[in-house]
Structures are given as C-alpha cells and as structure tokens.
Symmetry: D2
Subunit: 243 residues, 4 copies
Amino acid sequence: MGSVKVLGVNGSPRKYGNTFKMLWLALRGADDLGAETRLIHLYDYHLEPCMACYSDNLYECHFPKACPLYERGDKFRELAEAVLWADAIVFATPVYWFMASGKLKTFIDRLTALENMIYHTGRSLLDGKVAGVIAAGEEAGAANALSWMLLTLNMMGFHVPAWGAAYYHGRGDVLENEQATLDAYNVGVAVVRLVKALRGEHAGSEPWYRLDVRERVADLVEELRKIAEEEKEKARETRPWLL
Amino acid sequence: MGSVKVLGVNGSPRKYGNTFKMLWLALRGADDLGAETRLIHLYDYHLEPCMACYSDNLYECHFPKACPLYERGDKFRELAEAVLWADAIVFATPVYWFMASGKLKTFIDRLTALENMIYHTGRSLLDGKVAGVIAAGEEAGAANALSWMLLTLNMMGFHVPAWGAAYYHGRGDVLENEQATLDAYNVGVAVVRLVKALRGEHAGSEPWYRLDVRERVADLVEELRKIAEEEKEKARETRPWLL
Amino acid sequence: MGSVKVLGVNGSPRKYGNTFKMLWLALRGADDLGAETRLIHLYDYHLEPCMACYSDNLYECHFPKACPLYERGDKFRELAEAVLWADAIVFATPVYWFMASGKLKTFIDRLTALENMIYHTGRSLLDGKVAGVIAAGEEAGAANALSWMLLTLNMMGFHVPAWGAAYYHGRGDVLENEQATLDAYNVGVAVVRLVKALRGEHAGSEPWYRLDVRERVADLVEELRKIAEEEKEKARETRPWLL
Amino acid sequence: MGSVKVLGVNGSPRKYGNTFKMLWLALRGADDLGAETRLIHLYDYHLEPCMACYSDNLYECHFPKACPLYERGDKFRELAEAVLWADAIVFATPVYWFMASGKLKTFIDRLTALENMIYHTGRSLLDGKVAGVIAAGEEAGAANALSWMLLTLNMMGFHVPAWGAAYYHGRGDVLENEQATLDAYNVGVAVVRLVKALRGEHAGSEPWYRLDVRERVADLVEELRKIAEEEKEKARETRPWLL
C-alpha cells in the first residue's frame, strides 16, 4: 500500500497568509506520521464555474470525459488527478463574507464530476477517502465555512476523523495563536490515522485530540515563520500593493 | 425620484431553469408595482475570483479604481454599474452542494469593492439598498444558501423586507408548485414596497405576505412557461446535451 | 402612533455577559431615537420545547388558544405578549456550539404559534415587525447563529434593516472592542429608523451604518461597565461558582 | 470487545413521524451488521437548558459532578449514560425553522459536560466515538441542521463515516421515498463499519455508499409501516388533535 498520501488544497489567493499557514501545519502533521504530502494552490489553476450539465442530463456529468469547460483553458483535470492520487485531502479556505472563497466553492462544484461516477459505475470516485477542513479569517464565518465543507465532502464520499476541522478567527498572525496552530497540526495527524485504520493498520490508542504535541508544533511554527516571510517577499512581484 | 429600479441577478448557468423562473416571477412582481426592471445572467460575464488585496492592504480595495483583475478580461465593472443603478436587487441562485453557486459566491466576494468604499468615503456604495433572495434546487441546501445571502447582503448595507426570501426544493418544474411561484412573485413585490417606504412613499397597508395575488401569479406562470420553453430551445445550441 | 416600541430578548442565562451587554447597547441606541424599550431575559421564563402539533394537524397551532404546553407551567404566553407589544425586536444570543442557545431555539420554535395565525386569519401576527440580531461568543459560530436568525425571522414576517446584525467573537470583554459596541448600538438605531420609515415617518438621510456615534457609544460603555458589574454581583447568589 | 453498540437519539416529539422512521431504519442497518442498538426519544426526558457555568469558570463544567440543573428534575445524567455506553450515535432531528429542534439543540449544549472533561482529565469523554446524522422536515433546512450537527459532533470528538448523513424534505411519508429510506439505512451501516475499522476489524471492501441493499430496505420499510401505525395509535392518547 505504501505511505498514506495527503493532498492539501489552499483556497486562498495568498501563499503566505493564515489559511496557507494552517494548511502547511496540517501537512507537517501528516508528514510526521509518515505520509507523503502535496500542497496545491487553487489560484494557480484557471477554473471555469460549473455549467450544470447535470441539471439537464444526469449522465452528461462524467470524469474524465465530459465538462465542455476544458476547452476554455480550464485546469480541472489536473486538479482532479491530484484528488484521485490522494488518500486524504485537507481543504483550507479563507473566510470571505462568512463562507468559503468563491474559488473553493467553484472547485467543490466541479468535483461533482468525480462524485457523479456513482451513476456511471456504481461508485463515486471519492468513495472512502478522508477529509480534513480548515478555515481562517478576520471576521465571523469560520464555522459556517467548515460546516458547509464537512457536509458536502461527507456526501461526496469522504470520512471525517474526530477533530478533522480547525479554524482561526482574528486580526493577527495565526502563528501567535497556540490553540489554532495545534488544531491545524492535529487535522493532518487525524486524517492519516483514519486512513491507516481504514486500511486495517493500527490507528493508535492516544486520544484523537492530541495535547502532547505542543513542543513539536512550536518548532514547526518557527520554521513556518521564515517560509511565510519568503513567500511574502516572492509575492511582492505579483502583489505590488503589499505593505 | 422616478420609478423604483429593480435588478435581478441570475446565478445559474441556465436561462430556462427553476432559478431563472423564480427570478422572472419576482421581477414581474416588481413590475406590477410600477418598478423598472432588468435581469442579468451572471454567467454572461467573465469574473475572476477575488484576489484578496484587502487582506494585504485595506485601502487597496476600491471601486472603481483598483482590482487588478480587470486586466484579465474580467467584467465586474459592468455588473457593478447595474448594481449601482438599482434601488433593489433580487439575487437568485441554484443550490449546488447545499450552497449558492460558485459563480454567485465569486460575484458576492467581488462586491467587497463597493462595500469597502466605507473606508474611503464613509459610506458603503450599497448602503440603504434593498435585497431579496431566491434559491432553487433538487437537493437540500436552499435554507443554507438563503441565510448566507441574507447575512452577507445585510452586512454590506442592504435592507431586507419581510418575506424577502423564497425557495423551491424539488425534482420537478417550479411552475407546478403554487407556493413557490407565489413566494417568488412576493419577493419582487416586497422589495419595491420597502424601497417606497424608505423614500417616504406609502408602503401599503396590506399584509407583507400577499395571499390575494394568486390569480395574477397563475397568469404569469402561463406566460413564463412559453418563455422558458423558448429559452430552452435557444440553449440547445450551446448546450447540445439537453434532452 | 406613539413612540416606537422595541423589545430586547436575551437568550443567555447570564445577565452580565457579552450577549447582555451588546443587547443593552442596542436598546440604548433605540432609546436615543425616542423609542420605548423593554429587555427580557428568556431564562427567567420556563419554556417547554415545541410539541409539533402542527405536524399532525396544521390548524392545531394557534395563538393564544392551543399549545397544551401551557399546562406545564410554560410561560410562552407572557413572552408572546411582549412580542406582540413590540414594533421591533432585537434577539441576542450567546454562541453555543456554533449556533444560538437551545433556549433561544426553543423560543423561536414556539413563535410558530404567532406566525401560524396566517392560516387562521390570513395574517401572521408577526407580519411587518422589524428585527435586529446579535450574537456573542468565544468560539466560532456567530455568523451561523446570525444568518439562521435572519432567515427564520424574515420568513415569520420581520423586516431587517441594513446592518441589523452585530456580533462579537473573542475571549475578552466586548466592552473593550470598539467595533462590536458600535455595531451593537447601531442595531438598535437601525430597527427604530426602519419602523419609522414603514410608518411613513422620515427615516433620516444619514448612512445606515453610523460612524458618527462613537463618542456616544463610548459614554454608554462606561455606564454599562458599572451596570454589568452590579448584575454580576447580584448573580453570585444563584451562580456561586462565579470567580 | 463485543458487539458494536449503537444509540439512536430521536430529537422529535413524535414517535411515529419521518424523523423516527429514518432513525429506526438506521438502527436496523446497524443491527444487520451485528450491532446492539438502543433508541431513545429525547422528549421522554426533561432537560433544562444549559446554564453556561463554563462561561464563568471553565472547570465548573464537569461530568458527572457539576450541573446545578440536576436539582430541577433534569434527566441529563440518564441520557449521558446512554451516550457513554455507545460506540456510535445516530442523531435524528426534525427540521424546525431551518434548523434542528430546540430539544436537540439543548441536548447538544448539555453534552458540553462530557466534552469538557478534556480540561479535567486530558480526554473528552466523547473522544473517538462515531456519529451519524439525520434530518427530516417539510420545509427547507435539512442541510443546515445536518451541517451544524456534523461540525459540532466532530469538534466534540466524533468521527463521521462517508455518507454518515441522510435527510428527507417533503410533504409526505418518507417511506414512499426510496432514496431517503436507503440513505437512512446506510447511515446505520456506515457508523458500524467505521467503529469496526477503528477497532482494527475489517471495514469491508464494498463502496461506502451501498446500492446493493435496496431489497433489504424495501422489506424493512414494510415492517416499519406497521410499527409507525401502532405508535401513532398509541400517541392519540397524549396527542388528541391527531387526525
């Protein structure tokens, strides 16, 4: 079977903000349990909004054949490959107006093609995968974004481990918030443990909410501070308004 | 002051489905009260997802100046003109995965530029407008979409009249559902009454939930049946999978 | 017509916490515009959970006749009197597990009897009233509570003024948060302005989001600090675990 | 270890309605996989609303010691015993005003005492259990109720299996809806499979969304029809308005 494969999906246009930071910590949590990880920034991929072929004709929605959107430079197929590769996926979104970003919503809408294979083959292409969810923002809405993601992913075929959700709501840098960084790290740990349990490997007998990893998380936070700074510097080129 | 101006925003890619039908009925409701109406199909306008300049630098988010997205063929400015023209806006969305469509979410995210003028001039460009909301879909999620839209629009500056929300959830044609067509029509009536009240004109003393308009709605439904059929035929060209 | 009557409903068991404080500020905002205000603490009233007579027989749900719950020491009728007295109601809830409190949910469920009069008389007893909503809590969920309240109240017959919603999410005392105290005060101001507009009185031409009331709010905050302290002291008798 | 223990919690006041029916099917699904099941009707237990001791003093919230509410005839301890007995719990709620019932919300609020043991002992009493969720109602709100339950239970320590959520929204009898009855049955099957996987037993290699159980569900529906009719007859005594 090999190592557990965990994909991180960043739904924020920023590669150095709180959403990215929490996702990075989750992937390091997965990595600490021996998983192979990959982080994708959704904004690197042009995505057309769903055309709702399904509403006209249920069987038109198919992966990889259908989706007339591919002709418009749409990159969904590439993202889908990463989704299919993964055993577990951690979806991270900024909170825009009390909900996930429009980019992430569009991506989730497009995942219908994978879930809809249940009508073509009897099995959703997402059946049995594991999901974790993260939301970060200044204003309210983290719970709204997380709960929406959980229900949607669960109804596409994803299992969700205990404390598979984490959020940060506040003005500042999430790295200053011990609770949020711990929660984020634990999302990555939890998804890997659940994948292992589902494979018949031992899930571990520690509590599912891990309090014994504080020092590890503190070390990772230091490493992440530098990485985020570098990403921020790189970003000045395409985001000249950055203070 | 002139007639009340009502904009209808269709967040569905289909111009003949339940979302469109309910929106059309709402606009006829507004028209019956003397309003001037306009219906916009969001999918006719290319929209880039929000780049979150605001998260880097609050003052970068501005209308009409900022938004580096305009360079990419983005049409937000045109949509914004329609929004600014209107006294009231009825937002209609299909229900995709328990929420509004990604297209509508992206549009709402982009409206931040108008709301953010409060930091530039002391007043949101949406301050004092009136909103109505509609959601239609087969599966669950209408309430989730409506409640999210209501909070968001309210926090951007929109007033919401009593029964300013309507939904349809079901497999079939909304035109066969008396309750839903009545609710949709009433959304349009309500937004106009509220604009008038805010202008100092008489709002009318009838209940805000109108039961006395059933015959009128039944007539409109017959007219709409033909219109939707025509739109569906026209759509076959760009949607060849239509049954 | 007399002064505008505004009822504040506190859905928290504490009469000195953030929920209460924000509600108090909202009522002072209403009072500053000449309204007559009343504040009710839901927890002072025993309320049985809804028995869903409506699901068996639509016409059984009636106010004031039905509701077999009255026999159990249930106080809904008294609360309903206050609701009917009011032109506008500000509902304030603590955030418990990402939602409004069970007490407030139960109260809202029971309001069905007033809304259901539309089937008996053609008009909901709540038709045309105005609502404001407030949510306060440490953890996430304020947006979830607010959006749920907005949709529900709107579908019972309440209009909602622009920025008729306010929240606070944080560990500390809301009185230290200028934004939240300003938002809360503005909810009270907005509901009164909207009632006046609906009566045919002038709504005022200032923006609906008031930035010019900061000093006034700061003064009220000082007054409230003492009041909350007194309420907290009084509470030690029934809440001996208070630190 | 013995058989998997599954508790069903009915949050509806009716023991014969759609909520009960879907829950009964879920428990039969669990039973078909060898689980021991128990069904509890929340309305049989007097429950006081949470007093938020936690907001005054984090450590006051404790199970089984604290909760001054026990003195008022409150039955939470009995319900908690059932919760602790179970490996998996299926929570079923009617949809009242776009959300779970006030009764269920109050019960969930009270579960804080079990989750809060993490501050006393380092482990939530709910850590590692498995949850399924069901919502049934005429009007919209099923998704809202389900998503709220999923996030809340997940953040208390529950894992959620793929398709661990099911709903029915419609006017009629859920037993006439093949999809909804299948979904409900599958919730019970899924929670048992996940408990087994977490114990190190084989989870089974069939898809997590089971299409091969249609005949079994059809048989159970026939059995349930009679049971529900009997429960309805019994209920006439305490619900004389039943048509």
